[in-house]
């Protein structure tokens, strides 16, 4: 109940602060949660009204009214229990004895969780995604899916994998989505309604009649997400979704992932790979760093033999990334009194690792005391950024 009310309170706050666009997205999410055609109709009518009317106080009133109606219906709807949906145990993949090998990889995915995969190019991110979606088979280890399926084909209908380069599709976007909805059993009377809601949810209303070649790569990816939403998968595996997106679009898409994954009534597990470390880390519940196919988790966890909830990780050293005009030797001298363990120059910035009880506050105090010119700094003690240099 708390999560659900929290979502609604967030939506109410969005309306209060005039963020109608995001509030509309939340309302669409709640509408789809109801699974009632009457609400599909109402929300679609409101969306049509919003298309032709500028944002005014009346917009706030209409959105609020619909939001309250949705709240009244959904507050009594039972939640979905958070369940483990996927576990990979010592999974390895070897293409050939001399070639690159991935693994062993261990991971667990729960409904509502987002797992980020990061790492340098060619270190196994796509291979791992393809293993998890069934496109590749593991050389050793096992992947267990904790939901029912008849055969391998049926399994793959429940695992949606969106590659970095998506397939071409023909016809209009709308037509393709209607076909997807029909294939997934949406009744005729709700098919078009749900498709309209999904299109609106992902900001594609103006593009519904566009074909593949007339869409930018960002909108092509949004189309794939729209299709994914209609498919109601157990797991979404998506390769580099933020590539080719501007910074605003990246943040929007990550917010979308979060709200889709953490829906109280229709949660899904998401595993995504990306080069945008900080954005992914903000959104993900766990980040896996792959280097030469070997796994390192951002949040070190230990799963007990009985598969109980993970225990808390050990304290990490303080690692900071910063830019400075000073030379490396001068910086090393200035920071050595703080317990500096290493100072590396990496990609235009310095990475400093400290032992002991050093934290961000003591570091900044040292910078002020030593008058170190600092153009930029970032605490990466809890970021996979530190794995890129270690």
């Amino acid at each position: 109940m708390i999560d659900f009310k929290k979502h609604f309170d967030e939506a109410r706050d969005l309306l209060r602060f005039g963020d109608f666009a995001v509030a509309t997205k939340r309302i669409i999410d709640f509408t789809l949660d109801t699974e009632q055609i009457a609400f599909y109709h109402k929300t679609n009518q409101l969306l049509n009204w919003l298309d032709t009317n500028p944002a005014t106080e009346e917009t706030r009133l209409k959105l609020s009214a619909l939001l309250e109606e949705l709240y009244a219906v959904l507050q009594s709807k039972p939640y979905k229990e958070r369940q483990k949906i996927l576990s990979a145990t010592n999974v390895e993949k070897e293409y050939s004895p001399a070639a690159f090998a991935l693994g062993p990889v261990n991971l667990e995915l729960y409904e509502g969780d987002i797992v980020g995969l990061v790492g340098e190019n060619g270190n196994g991110k796509t291979t791992l995604l393809r293993l998890l979606c069934g496109e590749l088979f593991a050389t050793s280890g096992s992947i267990t899916y904790n939901f029912e399926y008849e055969d391998l084909f049926d399994l793959r209908t429940k695992l949606v994998y969106i590659p970095q380069r998506t397939d071409t599709w023909r016809g209009s976007m709308y037509e393709n989505l209607v076909f997807t909805a029909a294939s997934y059993g949406y009744a005729p009377e709700e098919n078009h309604l749900v498709v309209e809601l999904t299109i609106a949810r992902l900001g594609l209303r103006k593009f519904r009649n566009h074909s593949w070649k007339s869409l930018s790569s960002g909108y092509k990816m949004r189309f794939e997400l729209a299709r994914m939403l209609l498919r109601k998968p157990k797991v979404l595996l998506i390769d580099e979704p933020l590539a080719n997106l501007d910074i605003l679009a990246q943040q929007t898409v990550l917010e979308d992932f979060k709200s889709i994954a953490k829906s109280p009534f229709r949660p899904i597990g998401i595993i995504l790979s990306s080069q945008q470390l900080y954005e992914v880390e903000k959104t993900s519940d766990q980040v896996i760093f792959l280097k030469q196919g070997v796994q390192k988790n951002l949040h070190e966890t230990a799963v007990t033999a009985t598969g109980d909830a993970p225990v808390v990780a050990k304290p990490k050293p303080f690692v900071v990334e910063f830019e400075s005009d000073w030379a490396q030797s001068k910086l090393s001298d200035a920071l050595s009194t703080l317990g500096l363990e290493s100072l590396q120059f990496n990609g235009g910035t310095y990475i400093a690792t400290f032992s002991g009880d050093v934290n961000q506050k003591t570091f900044l105090q040292q910078v002020i005391d030593q008058d170190i010119p600092l153009a930029y700094f970032r605490n990466i003690s809890n970021s996979t950024r530190r794995f890129f240099v270690s």
Binding site: E135, L136, F137, D151, L155, R156, G171, F179, A182
Partner: protein, 471 residues
Amino acid sequence: MRHPLLWNIKIVPMLAITLIIHVLFFLTGYAKGSINFKQKGWQYNLDNDSPTIVFFSILLSVVVLILWLVYYFRNNAYKSFYPKSNASLYKEWLLILAICILNCSYTATFFYAQDVRKTSYFDIEESQRRQDIISMVSLFTDERELMGDNGYLEAQVIEPSNDTIKENDKKRSLLSYYVHRFGSNTYYNRNKMPKNRDSINNSRVKGWLRSNQRDSVQWLLTEFEKIAKSHDLKGNITPQQWLNMVYKYPEFIEYESIASTSTINEDYYRNYAYTTTQVASSDYYVPLKEMIYSYEKIHDAEYKPFINIEIGLTYLCVAFGLSLSIFSFRVTSGRGWLIALVSLGITAMITGLFSVVTGAGESYPIMWLLIILGLLIYYLAIASSRAGKGLTDIILNALIWLLPWVVPIIASVVVITRAGHNNYNGEFDNSFSHWVESNIIMILYSNLVIILIYMYLLTASIKKWKGIAEA
């Protein structure tokens, strides 16, 4: 919306389009099937429609096929891993097959409509009665046919000279000739002994002559004149005059020569009659040639219609082959489809060369049987394991195309290697191979049913195969 497969495959518009085209071809065929009862023989500008129709039919089929495939291939629920039942792929193939059958059979509709038109002039009894009369009457004109010593009808070659014809004719009695045989104007059976009605008509009219039933002959000639009049045709003699000129009992040698038409266009006769040329040999004529030509068309439409069991099999085989080709492309990939095509072509050349070099004719089909068996075993091994797909993308294409050939290949092996070949008397020994050869059409039809059955199992397997990892 409830049936995304039907929507995707565009079955409703395709049914509408193909049925409209069939109706158009039917109407065209029906119009073209009308008979000009005054036409004496084959004429290029009137009777040479078949190549044009066939050409346009094929062109239309290809255009419709391409347009349909463009829309059909827009969405592929199977490749996108949308939920599908075990029978879903089978239903999809059946729908493809139905569209292929409809789209490949426009010529059949055209020629069928022609036959329908030709047989619509008279009911079967009336048509047969008229043909009998025309056949019997031919004995009393120069359309009569010559019986050879060996019991077979000979080609009758007459020099284009009135005197010569008269002289040749008068050397033989009417009783040594044969009535015109309907259905004998196709060259392959030109010299075959006539059966059934021709024999009956021949015996009947000669029986009248031998037993001096003049009244019967008079009735015959009178009936002929009535039939001619019904088609606005006439000769320059009355039935009575005609009777007096030809009825020369008991020898029937001193009869007058009666031409079967008023004028002969020598040019177009040379075009069509390889062994018989006839020139107007008498001042007297009756409109028999026109009647024979027209009623031959009706006869052929009744007894040798275009749509028969062999033609039907041909159309179905083409449709089945095309549907399997499209289906295999649909469930695998364009790359696998192309590689399979090229590989099979190369394999065909190698196996062909091998059988030529070894000189063993039956080795060719046996090699192909082994190849099909090998492909099937490989596919089943991969499909039942959880390892990668390997080459099954290519193998599956080849398998879908080759499995329908198993029964025909086995039949051909049986026939090729049969014991007891024809003996000099033309009798076949009563063996299984003889049975196969005699019932090959039934066997091939049964093969189509077998394809329908095993495709149900194969498509269920293909659905599961799709879920196997790529590598």
